[in-house]
Symmetry: C2
Subunit: 382 residues, 2 copies
Amino acid sequence: MKVLILGGDGYLGWPTAMSLSARGHDVWVVDNYLRRKTAVETASEALLNAPLLDERAAIFKAETGNGIKVTIGDLCDRSVLDNIFTIFKPDVVIHYAEQPSAPYSMMNYETARLTFDNNLQTTFNVIWAVLQHAPECHIIKLGTMGEYGTPNIDIEEGWIDIEHKGRSGKFLYPRAAGSLYHTTKVLDTDLLWFYVRTYGLKVSDLMQGPVYGFATAETDISDKLLPHFHYDDIFGTVVNRFLVQAVAGVPLTVYGKGGQTRGYLNIQDTLQCVELAMNNPVDAGELRILNQFTETFSVNELAEKIQAVGNVLNLNVEVKAIENPRKELEDHYYNPIHSGLNELGLKPHYMTDQVIAGMLNKVLEYKDRIDVSKILPRVKWS
Amino acid sequence: MKVLILGGDGYLGWPTAMSLSARGHDVWVVDNYLRRKTAVETASEALLNAPLLDERAAIFKAETGNGIKVTIGDLCDRSVLDNIFTIFKPDVVIHYAEQPSAPYSMMNYETARLTFDNNLQTTFNVIWAVLQHAPECHIIKLGTMGEYGTPNIDIEEGWIDIEHKGRSGKFLYPRAAGSLYHTTKVLDTDLLWFYVRTYGLKVSDLMQGPVYGFATAETDISDKLLPHFHYDDIFGTVVNRFLVQAVAGVPLTVYGKGGQTRGYLNIQDTLQCVELAMNNPVDAGELRILNQFTETFSVNELAEKIQAVGNVLNLNVEVKAIENPRKELEDHYYNPIHSGLNELGLKPHYMTDQVIAGMLNKVLEYKDRIDVSKILPRVKWS
């Protein structure tokens, strides 16, 4: 298939590009290096500094013989997608091209506005590029489990049947996210749903939980093919941050009571899920929403798991609760359904002790690059 | 009170400004004349050509002694609100500043993008201006009944209690609008709700139905104080369009089966509702949603009412069904609750035969300005 990957420089975009190229697809990636710029701007250097896209694509080609086309461009500018769609009518667009940091979106007006404009304008332009150049193209959009927030009822997969005063209807599941970043994805879903039902687009919206790890079949070829790996408070997700804290010999910092429960997945399962969505396209006029994670943990459970494995590796891991910089429930009901991807054939890679040990050992190779001053929260919600 | 009105040149913004100024409030209006520009661009000249804002404010001052401050500026530019808020810390912001035409938002990429960027960026900037300069300020945002679409269950006022698998929760009512314009208001509400619950803003979101008429206590002073009055297919709402068709001697054009039912209100009741919301502010951290209309009619019922009154005035009104340019249900369940504004004290002006006759007689004064070529639909949803 002809696959266009937006946000191809990112933590998930790049491994996805390699994986699909290795499986024989014709892959084209676009990125404007926004993550690199925001990381520099906030002094949030990644643990692993991935080479630029052209260089990585050349390394991947040399190592495997598989090509990846690269365009550097800002997707808020309509012409970038127009130019690509005119010569490469993709069968699938995988849309990762969003500013994905919740703390970054909550720093100040400028970072909030950048997040808001970038994420919504990019989604808007993806919709219109497909409408005008390739209406049969399947859009696979990365949403987030964070769109739902932590409601007091079971979280269904995107849709809910509501019985109300003796009548019933099917609706988009109501969402209430915990950061502006997550809220932009709520808005993305609303916008996609409007264009799907009005013009018959084909969209899969993958509500993904926090991803951990960095090892995929292709990153194992060379460390130069590893994705960005952030452990700072702004761009590092909780598991990756805990791994680095364990290796650095500083306490794992739990925000507040640590009862915040979320659905997590291994980066290998992100690749699997996206491929499963791609190989099982939706009908015209269908917005398919899939909850993309494999198991749920509270923050305390994550800290305990990483502490236990770290201690086997003689890392003497401590856990410390700190004031929660976010505004979120620290103890709540959480029962999200996630059967859709399993039904499509997902074979989960669970967070076993062996998996945790593998990640800790990889981080240990880069221990001298860790700057522990980057880990404590710099951004508060209030 | 110090009242800042955004979109003060508009069909509703200008009468609101006069009304609140006449009641002794300190009123400042902002507009970028977007409606005038889009009307020229689409050859949709208004029946009544309102003078520019400075001139209207001068006429109003001369006639009544009441002042209205005027700023011409684009609210997508952060500095416009910063400058105003620095010297005029409003108690209330009334936010009408959106591109409000559904057909305009559905014409092509450029008009869709303008609608999307203008409406969302303006709301974003209003939120931040209030957060940073006047956190106690009450934001009164004009939403639309169109946010809800036409669901198969009763439409509550913004919020719904959902019972699901033995548990329950309160949620924003799920919405599914029928045009991109209406969808931008769905997104506005989602965005406002995020900032309300996170930072304790005070917001009233008024889900307004289509407004008709032009006569208010202040427009009765001079025709130069009348608001824009559009009757074309792009900017004219259905009642105003039918009034002009009746006067022009062309058939009232019903889109499709004409069973589309909506909640309508007289322009005088828009002024009442906004003032009631203003005089009954919400608490910090509250998003109050009120459904703002006084009675529901199907399109066929509206056509019949206007036909009947028109015939009493010897206008020989015909009604003609034409192909529906929109994608919408033409026969549907519709039971929206609208008790909130009544509880605050709304005294409705219903669409009586006398009211219809008054509107027809006013339009008759301007009959020679009607261009019937502007009335048939130029924009299709497909």
